[in-house]
Every structure is written in structure tokens, then in C-alpha cells.
């Protein structure tokens, strides 16, 4: 590390030759507090099962170089492509799968479009950037109300992004570069017309799939894309500060998430190598 474009990455290699590789596209930094560990645990589990895995921090985030105010959607996709190239050279495998969580699902979807038939796992995905950011900005409105401030409107916050360069939400900045570069991004559009296996995992405190996910799956099926789905009934406070609680490693939700994802990835990579 030392150069301005360096990104921090962790590569998990199996002891023997890899049956394939998985690239994990994390959510935005604000959503990693109780989620990061799950990605680590999945990577370790898959490496033990023969799958090489790379996890990385986008430029301007985590331990990587760069400035968060320069984050853009294409930049995040480029970082993913760099991670893929690095994994392929380290693991000496061409067989590839991608996994993305929340906003990271949009990034993974866009990166996957460069790799025909690469299996794609979507953990609690953002279906489109526009509704995702509206959700985030609502948190800012709630935060203002709790602080006794007169809350701006949603349009006011969007204006703030455009004129001030960013808007703050719960101690994180949503930069204009990311907002404007993502506005028209949607998962379905990113997937293109290539057939690939998809696993959609809902991680919410409900057992039935939410309507946006039902609609997404239907649209995929109309395009000839097979989508498996899984619900993990666990409430995850994606953006809220929450100290304590059950240890993530041993929570039933984490176990169910890994049990549902790991065998699916292994199976799809094995099918791809036949």
C-alpha cells in the first residue's frame, strides 16, 4: 500500500486448487457495522470448501486510499473489476461468482454484466439507486426531527446534495459524486440479457418476501432469468448505531444466512466448471 489508488483487500484462498472464485461487493460504509463480520465468516467458510474469495474496501472507504467525496458508481464498479482481476491471478481460476449487499448489489450486478453466466448473490439488495437513496434520506429527516430541528423536505435534501456537495446522514456523508452517478442505476438494467443463476436473500424481520423483491423476481423470470430466493427473518439496523446485542458470529440469522448462501455458491461454481 502507498499509492493513492490502492485499495485494501483480503483474499481467502483454499488449501488446494480453487473450484472457483467469489467477489464480495460490500454495502456502503454506514451499513457495515453489523454486517462486515458476516462477509468475513462467509469468506472463511467458502475458502474451507474450496472457493477462493476476495473482499475489498472501495476507494475512499474503509482502509483504502482515496477520498470519500470522490466516490462514484463507476469507480466502485472499477474497484470491483480490479478485485476480480486480482482474485483470478491469485487463485488461478476463471470461474467466478459475485455477491453484493444493499447498494453493493447494484455494484455487483453492474460488474457481473462483464462476465457471462457468472452466478450472482444479492443480500438485501437495493433494487434501484433512486429508491435506495430516498430510504437513506428519510433517515436524515427522522434524525432532524429527533434533534428538534425543522426537517428539510426530501427535495430540500436532494438540493443540499447538489449545492453543498454532500448531505450528512447519521454521521456519514452521501457525496454528490455518488448520488448523481447512481441516480439512474437499477439492478434489472445492470443484469442485461445474459442468463445467469441468481440468489436473492431478504434479510429483514419478516418471513414473506417484500413486494419490491417479488416484482424484481417476476421481471427476471420474464427475461428468462432463474432466481432463487431466501428469507432470513432477522432485523438488521443497517444505519443505526447499536452497541451490544447478540454476538454476530453466533446469531441464528448469521447461521441461516451462511447456510443458505455458501452451498448455493459452491453448487453454482461446480456447475460452471462442468
Amino acid at each position: 500500500m502507498g499509492k493513492e489508488q490502492d485499495i485494501f483487500a483480503v483474499v481467502h484462498l483454499p488449501r488446494a486448487s480453487a473450484l472457483g472464485g467469489l467477489v464480495i461487493c460490500s454495502p456502503l460504509e454506514a451499513e457495515t457495522a453489523r454486517h462486515y463480520r458476516k462477509e468475513v465468516m462467509l469468506a472463511r467458510r467458502l475458502a474451507a470448501a474450496g472457493v477462493a474469495v476476495i473482499r475489498f474496501h472501495y476507494r475512499g472507504h474503509g482502509n483504502s486510499r482515496g477520498h470519500p467525496h470522490e466516490t462514484s458508481f463507476q469507480g466502485m464498479v472499477d474497484d470491483t473489476l480490479r478485485a476480480i482481476a486480482h482474485l483470478r491471478s491469485r487463485a488461478r481460476t476463471q470461474s467466478l461468482a459475485l455477491l453484493g449487499t444493499r447498494f453493493g448489489a447494484l455494484v455487483a450486478g453492474a460488474a457481473a454484466s462483464s462476465f457471462d453466466r457468472a452466478p450472482l448473490v444479492l443480500w438485501e439488495p437495493a433494487i434501484d439507486a433512486s429508491s435506495y437513496f430516498r430510504q437513506i434520506l428519510r433517515l436524515r429527516l427522522m434524525q432532524d426531527l429527533r434533534r428538534g430541528r425543522s426537517a428539510a423536505s426530501m427535495n430540500g435534501l436532494v438540493e443540499e446534495i447538489r449545492t453543498q456537495g454532500s448531505v450528512e446522514v447519521l454521521g456519514f456523508a452521501i457525496p454528490r459524486s455518488l448520488y448523481e452517478s447512481s441516480e439512474d442505476k437499477a439492478l434489472l438494467g445492470a443484469l442485461g440479457g445474459t442468463t445467469r443463476p441468481i440468489l436473492l436473500v431478504q434479510i429483514e424481520g419478516r418471513k414473506r418476501l417484500a413486494a419490491p423483491y417479488v416484482d424484481f423476481i417476476s421481471s427476471c423470470q420474464r427475461r428468462g432469468l432463474a432466481v432463487d430466493s431466501l428469507t432470513i427473518p432477522e432485523e438488521v439496523p443497517w444505519w443505526f448505531v447499536q452497541a451490544g446485542g447478540d454476538p454476530i458470529d453466533s446469531s441464528p440469522g448469521t447461521a441461516a444466512l451462511l447456510e443458505g448462501t455458501s452451498p448455493w455458491v459452491e453448487r453454482r461454481l461446480q456447475e460452471a466448471t462442468r
Binding site: R37, N63, H67, G171, A173, Q242, A243, G244
Partner: protein, 313 residues
Amino acid sequence: MSLAHSHREEPFFFPAGEETLFGILTHPPDDVENGAVIVLPGGSAPTSTGRNRLSVRLTRTAAAHGWHGVRFDFHGVGESTGVAERLRLDEPFADDLLGVMRWLKDERGITRFALVGSCFGSRTALGVSTEPAVEAMCLIAAPVRDFEMGHRISTRLALELTMPQYVRRALQPKVLRGLLNARKRRSYARVMKAKWRALRKGRGGGRGGNDDWISPSFVAHLNRIGERRLPLLLLYGEGDDYLRELQGAMRGPLTHLTSRRGGSSLAVKTVPGQLHGFTHIEAQETVIRLVGDWIASIPTHGKAQAPDRVRRG
């Protein structure tokens, strides 16, 4: 000073007990010979990067001031092995901190340490207050009470409210409506359990009178720091409930620390707003500025005084 280009960063793994922990060492520019500033995060953002990369920015600030900066993942967190059981303030992860200090000394020749800890991290820092290699501490929103992380409010209410006040709160319409929500019901159960435990310990309500709500280990550590005359800066936001608790302790078992003959090594600084949890960017920027000033004030060893000979990895 530019934080972007002034440093080289080195990831490393080190043993702590039976676990293998992950850390990142930020090197200062060459020819600067100092110790290491170790940043210890709170329980709400326990990974080595901290909330909104605060720990990253703090360690790079330390490097810009000529110190090595160190951030690491506690066991069971981030890239480290192990399982982090429930975080308790009276059981901080001092062994993890001692492990990284040991590695830094054995592998990089670093023998002087300044610690910056927030919330749970501050109590972890206090857990090594007797280590001779620790030369200064900056503790941000340090909790004065002992409780399990996630139970700050329920235990505070248990101490502050009398039973009649409890009942009046419970009968408020918004509280009753909350019974329809599973998450709120769990939260109410925590509050009730905390109150029950407080009642059983004879802490019926209101904090007047005795000091037994103050953590014995917090008092013991601060006393040790006072005896060593270790420079200690306590940083709080004026909106932090921990500040009121510290002020209570300063009127009680810690009074002598502020009136120590010959001057105290303890300084308390407050800033507007809330620091705990770093839920506002302004608070984060304030902390970076104040910690930078504090680092700059720590006495350095000149080359002529046999400083650390840092072995590069």
C-alpha cells in the same frame, strides 16, 4: 498538513491469547522516531476503521504528527478470529490491547504508547493503566458506570427514575402504543429488568446520596493514573450523559484527582453537542482536531535521548 500522502500503511496479524487479531500500522515519514498512538473504538463501531473511518483518520493524523498510528480489530470483530461475547464495560478487552503492544515492541521495536479510546475503547485503554510503556491517554466519552453495551439507557433510567416516575412513563400513550411493536417490547423488557436489578441492589431511584453506581474499576484506574501522573485527557460532549456521570464522580470518589497537590495530570475538556457514538460529522472533525492537538503536546524523545529504533516490516 495532507493526510493523504504522508504515510505508508502496513497490515499485520498478531496473537492475543488464543486468537489472531488484525491491525494496521501507519508509519510516519522517515527519520521521525516516536512511539505509537493506538486507537481503540467504541462498541457501536468496533472494527478497526471506526465510524465513518474515524479511526483511519485518527491514525493518519498521528502519523502526520510523527507518531506511528495503530488501529486494530478486537477479537471476534472485523478480520480477527474469535467470538466477541457481549461487551461489558467492566470486562474490556485489555488482553487484545496488550497483545498489540507486545507485537509492536517485539516486531517493530516500538516501546512508547499513547492511547486514544472512545466509550468501550476508553475502558479498554484504562485496563492497561499500569503498563509502564503507556505514556499518555486520551479518553473520549468514557463511561463512568459499568453496564453491558446496548444497555446504557435502560440502566441509566433504572438509576435516575423512582418507581412512581417509572410508572408514569409506562402509562404514556406513546409507550403504550410501543407495546404493539416487537422491538419496542424488547426494549421495554430491558428497562424493566434493569430497574428490577437496581431495586434488588438497593438503588431504589434517584442518584442522590451514595456513589455505588460509579464503576469501582473506573475509579481504581483513574487513581492509578493519578499516582503515576500519567497525562490523561477526558473529552466529552456537553450533550453526553456520560459527562453528567463524570461530574458526579468528580464530586465523589474522584475529587482528589482535580485537587492533587503539585497539579493534576488530569484534564477534562468539553465541546458543544454530543461526542458519544460520533453520529455527527462535526463531532468527528472536532475529535480529530482535538486529538491532533493532544498528540502534538505529548513530549517527544529527541534522537539524542535513545529513542525507539523502529524496525520496518
